[in-house]
Amino acid sequence: MKTDNWFQRLVRWTNGDSKPLHEPQAHVEFPKKETPEAPEAPFEKGPSLLKSSAGEITNFSLMVVSMFCCGVLILVLLLTVAYLPRFGSSYNAPVNEVSQRYVEQGVQEVGATNLVTNIILVYRGFDTYGESCVLFLGATAVIMLMAIDRNNTTKKDLEELEETEKMESKNRNQIIRHVTMILMPIIFLYGLYILCNGHLSPGGGFAGGSILGGALILCETAFGVKKVHSFFNHKVYHIIKVGALILYAVLICYTIFVGANGLENIIPLGKPGSILSAGIILPINVAVGLEVACTMYAFYIYFGKGNL
């Protein structure tokens, strides 16, 4: 038998094979369901472990043990809470010299008046970069699992999808369409405002990006996937997503390099409180916002339609 390459094994694994490293047995291969109409043999409750009388006893005792564990856990947690310092007191463990330094030096060193933004994008910028990578990986994994390809769909699925699309375009509500036409620019403007004011007020890349993604989802609901596809297709999606991540990586690497070697940072900090200030924070916020908007829309569209 021909040995599969690693990619075929990966595909088998994502399709539910529990032993992807072994050669597939004849009946382990999962045939495409060409006739899903034939009613699946009703799930037999044969002599399984869980249904036998001994199994029931095991099940019951397991239940009791889990309840006991939950009870013990809640008691331990509440007792721990009882020994914590009081809520709102300044003796809490996190109120220490680290946060004191962030509060007192933050505006001079980094330049943003929103101290939380200072911390997440510059002091702990490397950490937030990892977080953006997690978001990127999450979107990639969802695309890998949900995208329609020849391995996981049949002709019938595609026909059904087309049917739904037709029904949706016929029943698309006029009211939603008109309201969306009015609201769309306002929502986009609001999202961009939050994105670009991340260093001055609450908000920033993650919040603004979610609003932008929500605007895209609203657009898809009102006008259909074809309209959105005309300005936001695979190519644009990949360019924005990878470009934003690379921009973030370059900026944060530059800052770390300059800071570690004691060189002079050529990016001006500007006057704290104005919109063009705080050095690298504004471009990083924009990059993160674009990344988050793309991810939100990708989650929505791949769960619903399986294709961008």
């Binding site: 382990v28 809520f87 509060v103 008046t113 929103n114 939380v116 791949y302």
Partner: protein, 131 residues
């Protein structure tokens, strides 16, 4: 420590108490539900509990939100409450969103293959497939 003292501290630390209860509710949901989708929702409960606890720890009575209103005056740590836990919670929220989406995608793939969300049924069907 007397019981009355413990209860008084629990009432004072009301957000931490609520987060402890929420955490155990989420864990019980993960243990006792056999539906995979409900398990993912219960995981979200546990995430929220951790975020609630971290946020409540950063608050200091009588201090302002950590946004400097007048940059010309040097900021004092006595004026603003602690900005560090807020940043950590933001990280956690984003990771939990990605994780929820990923586990829901896996659940949907399992449903497509086995036509069921019940974890026991899925296990039995997969074992029967292997035999």
């Amino acid at each position: 420590m007397h019981l009355s003292e413990i209860l008084a501290t629990l009432a004072a630390n009301r957000f931490a108490t609520a987060s402890a209860i929420l955490f155990v509710v989420g864990m019980a949901g993960m243990i006792f539900n056999r539906n995979l989708f409900k398990k993912v929702v219960a995981m979200g409960f546990m995430d929220s509990a951790v975020f609630l606890f971290l946020t409540s720890v950063g608050f200091v009575e009588g201090r302002l939100a950590p946004i400097v209103t007048d940059p010309s005056v040097p900021a004092s740590a006595e004026v603003y409450s602690n900005p560090l836990p807020a940043g950590l919670v933001l990280t956690g929220i984003v990771v939990s969103v990605s994780f929820t989406a990923f586990s829901l995608a896996l659940t949907m793939r399992l449903y497509k293959k086995y036509h069921s969300l019940d974890i026991d049924e899925i296990m039995m069907k997969s074992q029967r497939n292997e035999d």
